[in-house]
């Protein structure tokens, strides 16, 4: 079942001769329990795409649907409410509130959604324990390593049982070992809890934990491949022009039409 869907999404900045097309007619879908990597070189539009998937940025045309609800039809306050209830977010940096402990950071989402009660607080603790942070619950972000901070952010992104979990370069500031741990943990929880997960990364080593790879190039959907495919085309787009049909999601036809 499709949890998140981008339909012919365009994003243009500026006007006239200064017009820049950051995203050009991108469509794809992510199913529940599916973990998708959004990859591409710098400037390919990954983060812009993620911002539109999260409802932080409005597409110039096209639409983004989460569980069938069109984010473009919501007002700003409604989108904000939708984000805190239905979208989990992990960022590259400044992920946590600096003056809240690890546990309080996770519980913040419960407070914001009016679900701060004993049962959910227990769930927050369990989630942190599951992420190996049982000893660090009362530590402030500055007392945590980069990897631990990202794991707290992952816990926060999942505590509200969101439909969609989005991560923007969560491994950018981590060493390889911690980066693998973070992505593996995310992938595990997305699969186990049946969320639709999208991770933006420029590090192709991280895609091995994902189910599909959406490759953006110059704002266009270049191809969708499986981590098991030959990924050399992602590093060198000219060497690989084919889309792997067997990894298309439920919206496969549309994607194929867009990319071909």
């Amino acid at each position: 079942m499709i949890a998140l869907e981008a339909r012919s999404v365009d994003k243009t900045y500026g006007s006239g001769t200064n017009q820049v097309k950051a995203i050009d007619d991108v469509s794809f879908g992510v199913e529940k329990g599916e973990f998708v990597a959004l990859v591409g070189p710098s400037g390919s539009g990954k983060t812009t795409m993620l911002a539109m998937l999260a409802g932080l940025l409005e597409p110039t045309s096209g639409s983004v649907l989460i569980e069938g609800e069109d984010l473009g039809k919501m007002g700003e306050a409604q989108r904000s409410r939708f984000r805190r209830r239905r979208i989990g977010f992990t960022f590259q940096a400044n992920n946590l509130v600096s003056y809240l402990t690890a546990l309080e950071n996770v519980e913040l989402m419960l407070r914001l959604t009016g679900q701060y009660n004993a049962a959910n607080r227990k769930r927050a603790r369990r989630l942190l324990e599951m992420l190996g942070l049982e000893e660090r619950m009362v530590a402030l972000p500055r007392e945590l390593s980069g990897g631990q901070q990202q794991r707290v952010a992952i816990a926060r992104s999942l505590i509200n049982n969101p439909a969609v979990v989005l991560a923007d370069e969560p491994t950018a500031s981590l060493d390889t070992e911690r980066a693998y741990q973070v992505v593996e943990t995310m992938a595990h929880l997305v699969h186990e809890q049946g969320r639709a997960g999208i991770i933006v990364t420029h590090d192709l080593r991280m895609v091995e934990y994902t189910d599909r790879i959406v490759h953006l190039l110059d704002g266009r959907l270049e191809r969708i491949v499986s981590p098991d495919d030959d990924l050399s085309c992602l590093a060198d787009p000219a060497s690989c022009q084919m889309i792997s049909d067997d990894v298309l999601g439920a919206d496969g036809e549309k994607v194929a039409a867009t990319v071909s």
Partner: protein, 386 residues
Amino acid sequence: MSTSFHLSWKEIWRNRGRFLLFSLVIALITLLILFIAALGEGLGAGNREYIEKLNAELIVYQDTAQLSIASSRLGCETRNAVQGVNGVADVGAIGFSSVAIQQARGSEDLDISLIGVEPGKPGEPPVVEGQALERRSANEALIDGMIAEVTGLQVGDRFNIRSPQGGEEEFYMLKVIGVTESQMYGIRPSIFVPIVKWDEIRPKAAPGRGAEDPACNVAAVKLQAPTEIDAMRQRLVAQVRDIDAVDLETAYQNTPGYSAQQTTLNTQNAFALLIGLLVIGGFFQIQTLQKVPQIGMLKAIGTPNGVIALSSLIQIVIVNVLGVLIGALVTFGLSLIFPPGIPLVFEPTSATTAIGSILVIGPLGGLVSVRLSLRVEPLIALGLGG
């Protein structure tokens, strides 16, 4: 509300050193503002206290004196004419001058206002201890509570007044027969003597004993109908030649330097409040600028603007209230140890107004930072926007 309070309180508590330091800055501003208010009240009271407490409704001046007590001279005939106006209950002559009380060896002489009054007439203050003046020219005096406190003089004690007469310093011994409550005039404590004795003691360009029926500076007029001040004022001016009559407030506002002094202190107070506004605004503005990425992240995860704004506002109020509380307590502590001669009066109304002003300027100063936090784009969390 609870999430906003949670966020603001956690931030304050986890950065308590920084916020306490800032509260201390607010405390210093509070201290400054309260002291300026107390100084204004003290100096104001020092100038107007005697006139403000007069048991009369109007003060009569010589018309050419332009409401300057020192320049005004009223003779016996004028006072009698005022007394004869219909609606006047009683009239008392008052004379003002400055002399000094000679103190024990080693102590500096105490500058005081020597006020001549007619025993039993308007102008003579009520005593809180001892007895009122009775005889027109006796060597007897009432001293105000401040003099009693500073010099230790009590009813029955005698003391010397030093007063220049011509080129010489003359000394006059007086006996304390009563103590009044504080009756400052001209930023000095006062002693009250019969008007004839006053005319004898007051500093003069040439030595002389004083007149049997001396001229005074002004006359205090008690009305039969105290509510008809304006009508009576007009009637007096119309019926008695060469006089001017004003109510007590106008009288003390026209004492030398009173209005200029109050304006100066009020300006100082306004500037102190403005500085407070800028300091508080600046601190929270810098604090918010430092938190822009974090605010962006909070918005990106769906934190409503209302929670963020309220959280900032609650934080400003907590820090401000704490600062004002510390400042008020320190001011109160200091007020207890100040010697009585210093013109600082912590009057509840002006202190409350000052504290209220600081409590208002805190959130006002912080509004700029609240506005800034509301304008932060959630896209900042993704490194987009700005």
